[in-house]
Amino acid sequence: MTKNATRIHAIVWLHLLRLWRYKFSFLNNILTIILWLTIFVLGALMFIPKEQWSLMAPIALWGIIMWQFLSTSVWYIGGWTWFFVSQGFVEEHLLTNTSPAPVLVGRALVGLTITVSSSLLVALVFTGLTGPEVLLVDNILYVALGLVLLCTMTISYGLYLAALSFRIGIPGTLLDIANFVSFILGGLAVPLSKLPPQLRSIALIIPYAHPAEIVRYGVRGLEPYLGLETEILVSTIVALAMATIAYLLFKYILRHVRRYGVRAIGRM
């Protein structure tokens, strides 16, 4: 038990130290993300008549924040696996009786740092455009609950990608496209009730849509599509299921690695 505590300590220390040592790269990443987001958000805001900004702006802002949780999980966990594998870290960690999974999950810390700092900057851009009311939140508890559930899902997704890239190469473009599509179809940017019916039925089966509805309830009291209790129930079950699958998948993939060797090419 104390051994595991020391391990977790080591992993947290490693990621924070590396975050600090690579600070310029991370700064560059944050800036890049913000700028790209701003380009598209400004474009999207041009569709909204000025008098509706007060409702739509916070929804767009939180959509972006939630989307960042998704994309940083994909890039900072899934994308980093390429480096992790190619540097022989899978073997080096196994030799210390440490599974690579917690080390990769630890990367979520880095992703979180990036998400939080860039979200603050995006919030600043929004405040400049629409005034400070955009930052107000109805009920912070629901926002927090929604974000925790969403994070559980996105980290699990990041781990699926990591496990996959132990075996095969995943083209980066594909991940980018999946990310972008989730922005709308995953119900991150748009309340489910506002989606056209055909798209909505797709969104309902994408896990992220449900915690997103909880977050939006917390932000502006928008009634979740399936009702608050149902959304919480569904999100919790799905999040737990996704985490369990990630755990089992890693067990399977590590056995596979021991049998066939690590032959990952990672993303292109």
Binding site: T32, G43, F47, T173, F183
Partner: protein, 270 residues
């Protein structure tokens, strides 16, 4: 000077072909990206608000086509800067940079010419990908307009290459493995205000936009999108602006390159 320009271009061409062979996804993504970003923006906009509002705000005739062309411009500029700036980094990874540095004039030539075929191809792909959309919406006239945009992108490529070499010089000095000046690309595109009127930006950024070539390309594209027959006089002004920027950036770039070369030689980080 043993190396001829045509040789460098040929080398760049074959390098590009080999690279595309190993990165088949890239070709696909060049075609898909303008549509994907346009789709995303339009879908989001329609859900959040309405097309009518957008049309009014930007004062353009066909917003869908305009957004498609705008995405094409965004992608093309991104590809150009990326190709040129990362090319210098590749040389460092490959270990050929020290060899290039021995003759600074040649280094500049190589850094400009070698990525040129790739930059030409990718920017052409970025714009031509939109062609089906243009023909669908406006027939031959749409295709003609798009060709004007392509021409503008080609003209804008020259100052962009100079700009990219400045970026590359900075990266070389900063001794980072990845392109740490990557944020410059979206910054340039942000101030070029492709998808929104420039007046939504703070004043500082509006002034800043004047020094970046993409702003002029966007401006001209919007002119083409606004009137059925573009005003050629206005287009010529844009062309002159791009020419001036070409001279300016490539001048600065050659100074920056020899500066960074000196610094790199001194600190030994190659």
């Amino acid at each position: 000077m043993g190396v001829k320009s045509t040789d460098i271009l040929r080398a760049g061409f074959f390098g590009m072909i080999a690279w595309l062979k190993n990165n088949r996804w890239l070709l696909f993504s060049m075609i898909i990206w303008p549509y994907l970003t346009a789709f995303l923006l339009i879908a989001l906009g329609m859900i959040y608000g309405s097309f009518e509002t957008y049309k009014e705000r930007l004062n353009i005739a066909n917003p869908i086509l305009y957004i498609l062309a705008g995405s094409g411009i965004v992608m093309s500029s991104l590809f150009i800067i990326d190709t040129v700036a990362t090319n210098a980094l590749y040389h460092r990874w490959l270990g050929t940079l020290p060899y290039l540095m021995l003759t600074p004039t040649k280094m500049y030539k190589v850094l400009v010419l070698e990525p040129l075929p790739g930059a030409l191809l990718s920017s052409t792909m970025g714009i031509l990908a939109v062609l089906p959309g243009a023909v669908y919406f406006e027939g031959l006239l749409g295709a003609g307009k798009l060709l004007i945009v392509l021409l503008l992108v080609y003209m804008g490529m020259l100052p962009l290459i100079g700009l990219s070499i400045i970026v590359a010089s900075i990266t070389l000095v900063l001794r980072e493995e990845s392109n740490v000046a990557a944020f410059l690309t979206p910054l340039i595109l942000l101030v070029s205000s492709v998808f929104y009127p420039i007046d939504v930006l703070p004043k500082v950024l509006q002034y800043m936009s004047r020094i970046f070539p993409t702003s002029y390309i966007v401006e001209a594209t919007r002119m083409v999108a606004t009137y059925s027959i573009p005003e050629f006089r206005a287009l010529f002004i844009v062309a002159y602006a791009l020419l001036a920027l070409t001279l300016f950036y490539n001048g600065v770039a050659s100074i920056a390159l020899s500066g960074s070369e000196k610094m790199v030689k001194k600190s030994g980080v190659i």
